[in-house]
Symmetry: C2
Subunit: 311 residues, 2 copies
């Protein structure tokens, strides 16, 4: 066996979930990604080499989420135990997606594993199958689905109670600004801050706002979208874990009318920049935000219509 034979390459994209009022059901793929090279490993174990920032945060053995997703996919599709296959992988992962910042880094790993298994074992899984296997590892579809399909995605349950998703055809008239703080939020801890039920008025606000925000993305008309992006179901409950991010969200919404929200469970700030406001946004970042928050990372990116892939 040739240790150096590359058997697959995969690219998986960052995602921003929730998009303000679309709590736990919506997400968007972004132009940041991780790249993976997959080799057969002659040793009887999986290992992952991480290149890039935050690498000390990521498991480099079989506990790595990529490896877990490969095993899960194999076992679900074949009904056999992965360890009986006597096949192991060495994966080189170049990290472009910040870790534990609310940009779906764990989904990039799960989806990498799904796609690598699909390619290496020739399963030819549909996107819906990929999503449902991924949900066995990470039970929230709002990062997984856009990571798989690209674009802006809304997840839902159909009448058979299956999780499915729809990719929304958006206008091509906006960019995305990410403001990435220098601290992390643990998703599971952040989830615990959300109550099990919500007051009626808050629910109605999110229902109307999210539909109006989606209509803005579809039409490309972002007038009043700084109103529509307002959320009352998760951000207010989690303010204590990302107070500075919330201050930036409110500043962007209210001072220069850029529709802004927290990415996923934070702390990254996700801001929609209509094409005619790109210059204003760039100036605001340089002259105001970078002065107030010099240690944060500022990235202008865009929606990635392309989904994650493996070849």
């Amino acid at each position: 066996m040739n240790e150096n034979k590359m058997i697959a390459k995969a690219r998986t994209y960052a995602t921003a979930a929730n998009l303000g009022p679309g709590y736990d059901c919506a997400g968007m793929a972004l132009g940041l990604y991780n790249e993976h090279e997959v080799y057969e490993n002659p040793e009887n174990k999986d290992c992952v080499f991480i290149e890039g920032n935050d690498k000390h945060r990521i498991a480099t053995d079989g506990n790595n989420l990529i490896c877990a997703a490969i095993r899960k996919t194999y076992e679900i599709k074949t009904g056999k135990k992965f360890k009986d296959l006597k096949k192991n992988f060495k994966i080189i992962c170049r990290i472009g997606v910040p870790v534990e910042r609310g940009l779906g880094s764990s989904s990039t790993a799960v989806v990498a594993g799904l796609l690598i298994a699909d390619k290496v074992f020739g399963f030819k899984l549909s996107q819906k199958e990929l999503l449902n296997i991924g949900l066995e590892i990470e039970p929230h579809p709002d990062n997984l689905a856009p990571c798989i399909s690209g674009g802006l995605v809304i997840c839902y349950r159909n009448r058979k109670n299956e999780v499915d998703f729809k990719k929304i055809k958006t206008s091509n008239s906006f960019k995305i600004l990410l403001v990435i703080p220098d601290y992390k939020v643990n998703t599971n801890e952040a989830r615990k801050l959300i109550p099990d039920s919500f007051p009626k008025e808050d629910v109605i606000a999110n229902i109307s706002n999210f539909a109006l925000l989606i209509n803005s993305f579809v039409s490309g008309d972002f007038k009043n979208a700084a109103d529509f992006i307002n959320d009352r179901l998760h951000q207010p409950y989690r303010r204590s874990v990302y107070p500075v991010s919330m201050a930036i969200v409110e500043e962007l919404n209210n001072k220069i009318g850029l529709p802004s929200a927290i990415g996923g469970s934070g702390p990254t700030v996700f801001s929609i920049i209509p094409d005619n406001k790109v210059q204003d946004a760039a100036e605001y970042v340089e002259e105001t935000l970078k002065v107030k928050y010099p240690d944060f990372d500022y990235k202008f990116t865009s929606i990635s219509d392309k989904g994650s892939y493996c070849y």
Copy 2:
């Protein structure tokens, strides 16, 4: 004073609120309407003459909602008491909108009063002003707003906490079927059945479904819209007041895939008929529904893009 001098004519449209998951925030104007002729009344009282069905359900004196809305509009806009004006109206109202069936009949009356006052006193109110005065009489915008503006409307609160609305540009590729039972539902009683808070999973389902349904209306692609129209926040709680209507909703959604919901607080069934299913729907009505529910009224209509008006 010439008793017979007509000083205004107004037309106000039926509306279906909620549209399934868009609980308490969305509504659509339909092609059924009431018409009003307004005369000065030399007697020192307002009176309304009703022509059409259900006329015994409607007040014919100054307690009529049309008269209440005229008085309210005058008093809010001028700061003066209406009775000091010494002006009274005789209104002939031809009813085309069924009463207490979930088709916004009370909004047709309130909006008629708003528009008549606007015309007669020359206020030149904006649609947002009309809505906010109307809310002083009927505190729910989901029928009022589409009745005023026409089309499919989503109401929301802006960052100043003002009620506003946006008319959504829909495709022109569908018709509406209304199945109107022969019994009535009192809106205030129906409202009492809804709890003050909702479980998280149900909330997420309505948020995603409503955005997906709106995207269907915008794109004209109604594939899976029978999934998207599913509601978990009002219809399940009110099933006891319109059990037959819910059975028809489920039959239309599940047996022939026509996206269907309860209009407002019911009992009318509101069903979306994509243009390529009009023939199927007509056959299903004739051959199945009319056989099972012969006393119900079946109307094929369409969205009214035109809002209510007075001239």
